[in-house]
């Protein structure tokens, strides 16, 4: 019995090690089912209002010259290296060799230059052998970070088709319905583990949640208020707070009195309660455009409510004021935020009424931070809000001054920053949390439903 027992023990141990290893070891194959609200195949349509999921899908098909690591530091993508002159106006990017588009055409500097010119008509982009040269009108120290944006992905437009060099190719596309992506064996960064991705389009958060519950989807978007509930049943992965929620006034204040009333409004809003109750802690209250984890100076822009001060400011203004607050009728979150803000404003003596009419005095807006680079993120946020921002340098102080100037214009009142959260199926393995909520699907593989 002893020898048999030893052999059985040895065999059992070997089997246990083998099974344990199989659970953690990458595995090729399988179809990843994804559900999202919207998607596009054109990088020029990336960003608002498509949202981060649309950008993530784009970067499965297309590559950018530069990528950003988790700290926002540029890393080689299709460009292996880059250098700028002293003025930071002329940039040269040396391209990776041996990269091919989907149909086999080689990736060249000419194609890269043409793609960038299409995305940025104001840029002077030329090719120089295996390099792309960008000549800018003004210094742009954070150009590599801009080239990491999805909208600057390199594409080849041919006969109405848009081809990319990304890890997946589009094998089926029905606008608004579904999208099928197939892994490329010849991808320069290595073949993705999954064979293909089937994306269901036009699904609301509620439908996505149902698809996840029914195991029809393995990757879904989560609304902030869903995060708490979904996390009870499914793995939930969330980014750093990378989506700005703010109040955007239709126009600049026409008088100091109006600016004072906007200040009173900003003080009346109980951001903490909003985050705790309405957002289920899915965000971070903030008085700045950029999140604290990105800049570190968020504390300089107070976010706590001060109703007494708000009332005082309001009482100092004799003229009646009545604002209409708008929201995105397709976004329940902005609606409920607007409802709460209306109540907070009334607490301060400010008359405010909800309206979904096109012309309102101010509205609740959501703006994704498209870059992990703070300067680039501020520029993109300002552009999305229709505000002008000027940075005199690339230091944190320059960034603070620029952001402070924007906020002091009282066109925008930051409320908080939301995390981007995804619900994952139990079979999804090796999900890498990215601060900006981007997907690292090529490194993801599928296991059994129950780990």
């Amino acid at each position: 019995m002893r020898p048999f027992g030893l052999r059985w023990l040895a065999a059992s141990s070997l089997l246990l090690v083998t099974v344990a290893g199989a659970a953690t070891r990458p595995r090729y194959g399988g179809v990843l089912h994804v559900a999202v609200r919207v998607a596009t195949l054109d990088p020029l349509e990336a960003g608002q209002p498509s949202g981060p999921a649309a950008s993530n899908l784009l970067l499965l098909v297309y590559d950018t010259l530069v990528t950003l690591d988790d700290r926002g530091v540029p890393q080689p993508g299709l460009a292996l290296s880059w250098q700028a002159d002293a003025s930071k106006q002329r940039w040269q990017f040396v391209l990776r060799r041996g990269v091919a588009f989907r149909e086999g055409a080689p990736f060249t500097a000419d194609l890269a230059a043409a793609s960038l010119r299409a995305a940025n008509p104001n840029w002077k982009v030329t090719s120089n052998g295996s390099a792309v040269v960008l000549q800018l009108d003004s210094p742009e120290p954070h150009l590599p970070a801009q080239l990491a944006l999805a909208r600057n992905a390199i594409v080849k437009r041919e006969s109405g088709k848009i081809l990319g060099t990304g890890p997946f190719v589009v094998t089926q596309w029905q606008a608004g319905k579904n999208l099928t992506l197939t892994a490329r064996d010849d991808y320069w960064g290595g073949r993705p583990f999954v064979d293909s991705i089937e994306v269901e389009l036009g699904k609301s958060f509620r439908e996505q949640r149902m698809a996840l519950d029914l195991k029809k989807s393995q990757l879904i978007e989560l609304a902030p208020e869903q995060t708490r509930q979904v996390s009870d049943d499914h793995p939930v992965e969330a980014s750093a707070p990378v989506e700005l929620v703010a109040l955007l006034f239709r126009r600049d204040p026409q008088s100091p009195v109006e600016a004072q009333l906007r200040h009173a409004l900003a003080l009346s809003i109980d951001r903490n309660t909003i985050n705790r109750v309405l957002l289920q802690e899915a965000g971070e209250p903030s008085g700045s455009l950029l999140p604290n984890w990105m800049t570190g100076y968020d504390f300089l822009f107070p976010a706590d409510a001060d109703v007494a001060r708000a009332r005082q400011l309001r009482s100092e203004v004799l003229q009646p004021i009545s604002w209409t607050l708008g929201y995105d009728a397709n976004d329940p979150l902005t609606r409920i935020l607007a409802e709460r803000i209306t109540l907070n404003a009334r607490d301060a003596g400010l008359s405010m009424q909800l309206s979904n009419a096109p012309a309102v005095d101010l509205r609740v807006v959501r703006v994704p931070l498209e870059s992990l680079d703070a300067h680039t993120a501020l520029a993109r946020v300002s552009a999305a809000l229709g505000l002008s921002v000027k940075t005199s340098g690339d230091s944190p102080e320059d960034l603070y001054r620029a952001e402070s100037a924007v906020l002091q214009s009282w066109r925008v009142v930051p409320l908080l920053h939301l995390r981007v959260a995804y619900g994952l199926g139990a079979s999804v393995r090796n999900w890498n949390d990215k601060p900006d909520g981007s997907w690292d699907i090529p490194d993801l593989w599928l296991g059994a439903d129950k780990p």
Partner: protein, 595 residues
């Protein structure tokens, strides 16, 4: 207007008035019936609204009761006892339960009135509920204005407590009183229900809705709302939407009040008057058509009936005209046994009697005339005959007694006899002349000339004796020529002048006067003699009647015959002692003669 036309008009007017009266009565009865039916329908609709209101209220109460009895509410009631509240845990609770119970409003409120979870305003957690909650909550559903982020709405609410700990938790929920509520009402054709949500001090057309949403042209209805706001009691009005009365709408308003009798809503029931107006138009058209047809029929019938009634009358009138014209034997047919037939019988009897009387009169007059003629002749002839008798007796006596003187007597007697015989011939000649009056030879004549010729003829006789001189005065007017026989007129006027001279043996004034009136001319011969008695005036134109000692009584008869032959007439005006005037009236033209 003839009797027939008058009768026809009376018949037609009677029919027309009858039809008009019937149309008015029917129209009045229709309006009254329609008003009554409309009132009944409105009352029924208001009752239906109240019933629906009550039914839905009960439904809401049951749903709120179900929520209050559920596990979720119980857990929330237990959790609400601890402070601070975990509002995040209840954030979607009210909304989910409201959706499951098909409620528009649902709130969980703690014993302090603080909202824990709200379906209609999820962001309102932590705020005070406007409705005061207490253990003495209303058992039935009630109307309540609900403040929403985008305005105020009117809802039907119910409250139920959840007793699961030391402090009660209240469930307040309901449904919007909106167009869907109105759409659920079963409205008869031509009626509509509207609701004014009286949720603000001012009046706004946006708050007036019907089953399809905001009411178009609500401004015209707002005065009724305003009246109701001043005095919250049932009222009604008539709305004129256009110049067409068929577009009018009768509006009845019913107040909807809340817990504290505050006017929160107004139910307006509109009833189109198109049906009534079109019915009234149909009646009017039918009345007009009936009246028209009736009028035509009335005219036809009236013509027939009037003809039937008036034909005997017309025959009687024609017969009377014939009798007037001298046809004394005229008879009318007797066609019926009624009053008209009796009238015709009477007429016929009258003409027969008249004819008999006339014949008797003619015979008696003829006898009287012959007697008068005989008397006249005897009288006229006796006067000459008496001298003839004396003369012949004188001759006989002279032959017997004094033959020597016979020749002388014979000669004188012969002269006397010849004179008296001539006198007899004259008398006989005048009678002969009267019997042989010629037919007038009509020609254009100036009457004034004839009068002047007559006056000129008798000038010498007027002045025959100075003691008995007669003054002749001429008063001749301007006359148009007349159609007459100048010779006969001259003879007639001469006779009148002779009569006047005879009437003035002591002299006097003879006046010859002419004048013209329209289509007739007048010639007047007036004397200043002793005049005539009324009896004499009546008989003076009778042949052979005379008031003179030696008259034949034929002069004025001849004058009357001449005047009558000219289509005229003669009259006398006289008073005793004042003279006599004879007036001849002649037409300008003779019958059948054109101007």
């Amino acid at each position: 207007m003839s009797f027939r036309r008058r009768l026809l008009s009376v018949f037609a007017l009677t029919v027309l008035l009858s039809v008009a009266a019937v149309a008015l009565i029917v129209s009045w009865a229709t309006r009254r019936a329609f008003s009554r039916a409309n009132e009944q329908r409105t009352t029924a609709l208001a009752a239906q609204f109240r019933h629906e209101f009550s039914r839905r209220g009960e439904d809401i109460v049951q749903r709120i009761q179900a929520i209050a009895a559920g596990d979720t509410a119980t857990r929330m009631a237990l959790a609400s006892a601890s402070e601070p509240h975990d509002y995040g845990a209840y954030l979607g609770t009210a909304k989910a339960l409201a959706e499951s119970q098909q409620l528009d409003y649902l709130e969980f409120v703690d014993s302090q009135g603080v909202i824990l979870s709200s379906a209609q305003w999820p962001g309102k957690f932590g705020y005070k509920e406007s409705f005061p909650v207490s253990p003495a909550f209303p058992k039935d559903a009630f109307l309540k204005p609900e403040e929403l982020p985008d305005g105020v709405a009117l809802g039907l609410f119910a409250v139920r407590p959840v007793i699961a700990g030391d402090k009660p938790l209240y469930v307040i929920g309901g449904r919007t009183l909106d167009k869907n509520f109105l759409a659920g009402l079963d409205l008869p054709t031509g009626m509509r229900a509207m609701l004014y949500q009286n949720l603000g001090g001012d009046i706004s057309p946006q708050r007036l809705i019907d089953a399809e949403g905001p009411v178009e042209h609500a401004e015209q209805i707002l005065p009724v709302v305003q009246r109701m706001q001043k005095q919250p009691q049932e009222t009604s009005a008539l709305l004129h939407w256009s110049g067409n009365a068929a577009d009018d709408e009768a509006l009845h308003a019913f107040p909807l009040t809340g817990q504290d009798n505050q006017l929160l809503g107004i139910l307006l029931v509109g009833s189109s008057r198109r049906e009534y107006v079109e019915l009234r138009r149909h009646i009017r058209s039918a009345a007009l058509l009936g009246g028209g047809v009736g009028l035509v029929l009335a005219i036809l019938f009236s013509g027939w009936a009037a003809g039937r009634v008036t034909r005997p009358v017309e025959q009687l009138a024609a017969a009377a005209r014939d009798v007037t014209a001298g046809k004394w034997s005229t008879q009318v047919p007797v066609t019926s046994a009624d009053e008209l037939g009796e009238l015709a019988e009477s007429f016929n009897r009258m003409t027969r009697d008249l004819l008999d009387q006339k014949e008797r009169l003619v015979q008696s007059e003829r006898v009287a005339a012959w007697r008068e003629l005989a008397r006249r002749l005897a009288h006229e002839l006796k006067n000459p005959l008496f001298p003839l008798q004396l003369t012949v007796e004188n001759l006989v006596r002279a032959r017997q007694r004094s033959p020597e003187q016979f020749d002388e007597v014979f000669r004188e007697s012969s002269e006397t006899l010849l004179t008296e015989i001539a006198n007899l011939k004259g008398i006989i000649g005048r009678f002969s002349e009267f019997s042989k009056m010629p037919q007038p030879q009509i020609q254009p004549v100036q009457l004034n000339e004839i009068v002047q010729n007559v006056a000129r003829l008798f000038q010498a006789q007027f002045r025959a004796s100075e003691a008995t001189a007669i003054g002749c005065r001429m008063e001749l007017g301007t006359l148009d020529p007349i159609a007459a026989d100048p010779e006969l007129l001259h003879r007639a006027l001469s006779n009148l002048v002779l009569n006047a001279m005879d009437a003035m043996p002591q002299g006097g004034t003879l006046t010859l006067r002419t004048r013209q009136e329209s289509d007739r001319v007048f010639a007047e011969v007036a004397d200043t003699g002793s005049g005539l008695t009324p009896e004499e005036c009546e008989r003076i134109f009778t042949p052979y009647y005379t008031s003179k000692a030696h008259g034949t009584g034929l002069g004025l008869a001849i004058v009357q015959s001449v005047v009558s032959d000219h289509g005229g007439r003669i009259s006398v005006r006289s008073e005793p002692g004042q003279g006599t005037a004879f007036i001849i009236e002649l037409p300008k033209t003779q019958a059948g003669q054109a101007h």
